[in-house]
């Protein structure tokens, strides 16, 4: 069938979609939508419907153990409870935070002025507006006996940020050397590649349970190794005695050491993923660049710094996005290792959502999920912008 003729006929007569379908005479556009429809429908059912349900639930007070309350519309009350205090009062006592935020609002504005996007006049107007709005908001503080929102939320928010920073940096610090090692031209490099794949292929919960045993303070391998190498004595003189038991560091039953142990586990588990992506990046670098650099007399360090790293940037960006997104959603490893403990030290946002939903507080857990979603979205947008401005 001649397609060009077909599209011309569309303009003339405009038969309906069903008529065209019966006669087997669809336009390209219609055919395209028809072929996409199953996928779109599936996505709508498994993605859109749950997302919309969570949004709906987050503005309704639904609690399975308080069925007599039903699920009334409560607006943004869940978010107010989470982020904001119960009884906030305004006073000028909190102007320090106000000033800092006002100052923080200025650089982006000046940047826009310099790029010529907005005029000086409106920049001044925006600055004033920001100072006033933030000032009014920041002047509020918790009244007598009140707190800034949900202390448990802020705790899980901050431990999630800590895990993002430490484990993402850590997995790159471990992953890049691993990738370089696996890329070395040697008959033994398959060994490095197998070693790379193993942690990546291992189920996360299994990894968590395994490391929980390694870090067990009485009969774990880690403390045993520290003992054998004589490092225990050194640690004993360096760290707070409250962190030490009879057989070395109390890895999983003290807050500081547990954060360290869980981050080490996450880094072990994820650096192989980073390394795999970086390895793919390394292999796509044109070897002639290195040859040319050698001819010019560049040493190994210069070749790494001036060729490998810059050429690796797209791979780094991809790895960074995926690694950061999984770090925001950290759940399995802290859950398997300490159930979010000791206390609530390692209760990440993901764990907090889980704990709230299993305590039957559907509404609040939906609100927490929305915040988690917003955080993931913000970081993704930031990275995407960074990648696209680079091109």
């Amino acid at each position: 069938m001649d397609i060009s003729k077909d599209t011309r006929s569309t303009h003339r007569q405009y038969p309906g979609f069903w008529k065209r379908l019966r006669s087997g005479n669809l336009t390209d556009r219609q055919l395209g939508f028809l072929l996409l429809a199953p996928a779109l429908l599936t996505l709508a059912v498994v993605m859109l419907y749950p997302v919309l349900t969570v949004l709906w639930q987050s503005i309704h007070g639904e609690h399975l153990l308080r069925p007599w309350l039903g699920s009334p519309f409560i607006g943004l009350d869940n978010f107010r409870k989470m982020l904001w205090g119960r009884n906030m009062i305004w006073s000028p006592g909190h102007l320090l935070a106000w000033r800092i935020l006002a100052l923080a609002a200025l650089p982006p504005l000046w940047w826009f002025v310099r790029r010529g996007r907005i005029g000086r006049g409106s920049a001044v107007g925006w600055t004033l507006a920001i100072i006033v709005i933030f000032g009014i908001l920041m002047g509020f503080h918790p009244g007598e006996g009140g707190r800034w929102g949900d202390a448990r939320f802020w705790n899980s928010f901050s431990i999630t940020l800590v895990i993002i920073v430490i484990s993402v940096i850590g997995s790159f610090a471990m992953g890049l050397p691993l990738a370089l090692l696996a890329n070395v031209d040697s008959p033994l490099r398959w060994l490095g590649r197998v070693a790379l794949l193993l942690p990546w292929a291992m189920p996360r919960v299994f990894t968590g349970l395994m490391f929980a045993w390694l870090f067990q303070s009485d009969y774990g391998v880690v403390n045993d190794l520290l003992q054998r190498t004589g490092l225990n004595g050194l640690l004993g003189s360096l760290v707070d005695p409250q962190l030490l038991g009879s057989r070395g560091l109390l890895w999983l039953s003290r807050a500081q050491t547990a954060v360290l142990a869980v981050n080490i586990t996450i880094i072990w588990k994820t650096s192989s993923f980073v390394a795999l992506i970086l390895l793919a990046g390394l292999q796509s670098i044109d070897q002639s660049l290195y040859e040319a650099a050698r001819v010019d007399g560049a040493n190994a360090w210069q070749r790494f710094w001036c060729i490998t790293l810059p050429m690796l940037q797209p791979a780094v960006a991809v790895a960074l996005i995926f690694r950061t997104l999984t770090a925001i959603q950290t759940f399995d490893i802290p859950f398997a290792m300490t159930r979010g403990g000791p206390g609530r030290t390692l209760e990440t946002l993901g764990l907090y959502v889980y704990n709230t939903v299993t305590a039957s507080n559907i509404g609040y857990s939906a609100a927490l999920s929305v915040i988690l979603f917003a955080l993931s979205l913000a970081i993704t947008l930031f990275y995407l912008r960074w990648i696209y401005t680079d091109e």
């Binding site: 399975l64 153990l65 308080r66 069925p67 007599w68 202390a151 067990q216 303070s217 009485d218 409250q242 030490l244 038991g245 009879s246 109390l250 999983l252 039953s253 003290r254 807050a255 547990a258 159930r339 979010g340 403990g341 000791p342 206390g343 609530r344 030290t345 209760e347 704990n355 299993t358 305590a359 039957s360 507080n361």
Partner: protein, 418 residues
């Protein structure tokens, strides 16, 4: 062709008969010994013509409840009789999930007579403001297990006060000079049992989680005394510093390996420590009521399981019959003798066949009559999660005592106040 027709007819008739017969669906956990229960209900089925099906789900109280939450929230009639943890009847009553049982008895007197045959602890949990929502199946409590041989060796009687217990443990540890020996072991991990770890010293200091007027009373001198006591056992070296990692069965294993002088734990430990092939403490174990602070009474946490009739059942009358049968003396006797379920009926503590299988029940009785309920509230899940994680935080020294008391106090006010 004709034969197939006959076969179909036969199947259809069988189907109609099956429809006419009442079927009861009973939900139990995997720890409730489904095989034994199936055997026990056979006479009931024969007598009444009612068919009883068991649905088995989950091996912990929390996992079972997560499933039941969804079933009951949707008002499903698929379950008729359910076994629930002693901490939950209040939740079932408030949510309208458990059928009030008063009207199924012939008279008020008949109900009160029945309740009189049970221990006070489980009845306190099941009989709420004059309405009976559940009938006890079996009970449990935390006991003070101790090494009889070691206490005898140093001439000690089982301790009556906490400080006596700590000093006995110190003497024994110094005398034995065994680096693996722990003086006092309990559950410090953030599990359900950690609630008891905090409530027991709180109760034995004369405190409680709330007063008679319903005010939360955690941030009090008694609450502080409870936390200070637990931390002090670590400071003086009687309790191991990583007690925050210890869950119920970890305690049992360490005790059974002969590494612990005093331990708080549930009833099941006795049978395991005396019967397991790897036990180092056969005939070396004693059981006593929990110590208290000077001038106060001993108290302990009650455990155990109850039968409820689902409010959404289509066969409530038959379901009630089944509950009466399952909580009868005959059934409880078999559960106690064959499955070491601590009986909820008082008379069984003098029963020859029960005592023959479980000689320890004679000693258990004195402890169990003093057992108290963990917070009786419809919001037990949230209350429990709050207390146990905070207790774990204190024992791991990641939360200070002041902060912990304030967290539990404010948290409970939020949860119960809503």
């Amino acid at each position: 062709m004709k034969r197939i027709g006959l076969l179909l007819l036969a199947l259809l008739t069988a189907g109609t008969f099956a429809l006419a017969q009442v079927e009861l669906n009973v939900f139990i956990g995997s720890r409730q010994n489904p095989d034994l229960l199936a055997r026990l209900v056979a006479p009931f089925e024969a007598d009444t013509g009612i068919k009883v099906n068991f649905q088995v789900g989950g091996n912990t109280s929390e996992v079972q409840q997560q499933f039941l939450n969804t079933v009951l929230q949707s008002k499903s009639d698929e379950l008729d009789v359910i076994i629930i943890d002693v901490v939950r009847p209040a939740q079932y009553a408030a949510a309208g999930w458990a059928e009030p049982l008063n009207s199924y008895f012939e008279s008020e007197q008949e109900m009160m007579d029945l309740l009189d045959q049970f221990l006070p602890g489980p009845v306190q949990a099941d009989f709420i403001d004059g309405t009976l929502y559940a009938v006890p199946s079996y009970t449990d409590a935390q006991f003070l297990y101790y090494r009889k041989d070691l206490l005898e060796k140093y001439g000690f009687e089982p301790p009556k006060t906490w400080s006596e217990m700590v000093s006995q443990a110190q003497t024994i540890m110094a005398g034995e000079n065994d680096p693996t020996l722990q003086g006092f072991n309990f559950q410090g991990a953030a599990i359900e049992g950690a609630n008891c770890t905090f409530l027991e010293p709180l109760w034995t200091a004369g405190g409680d989680w709330r007063d008679a007027n319903g005010n939360i009373t955690i941030n009090t001198p008694e609450g502080r005394k409870a936390f200070d006591f637990l931390l002090n056992t670590m400071d003086v070296g009687v309790t191991k510093p990583n007690i925050a990692e210890t869950a119920t069965d970890d305690s049992r294993k360490e005790f059974q390996a002969g590494d612990v002088v005093f331990m708080l734990n549930w009833g099941y430990v006795w049978a395991r420590s005396q019967n397991d092939a790897d036990s180092q403490v056969v005939n070396k174990v004693g059981v006593a009521p929990l110590p208290a602070f000077e001038g106060f009474d001993s108290a302990t946490c009650i455990g155990g399981w109850q039968w409820v009739v689902s409010a959404f059942s289509n066969h409530k009358q038959e379901a009630f019959q089944l509950v009466r049968f399952l909580t009868s003396e005959d059934v409880q006797r078999v559960l106690a003798a064959e499955d070491s379920r601590v009986p909820a009926r008082k008379s069984l503590y003098q029963d020859a066949s029960v005592l023959e299988a479980n000689p320890q029940y004679g000693q258990f009785f004195d402890v169990i009559v003093n057992a108290r309920s963990r917070p009786v509230t419809p919001f037990y899940d949230e209350v429990s999660q709050l207390i146990r994680t905070t207790v774990n935080g204190v024992l791991s020294r990641s939360v200070g005592v002041d902060e912990a008391l304030e967290t539990i106090q404010n948290g409970l006010e939020d949860i119960v106040g809503n």
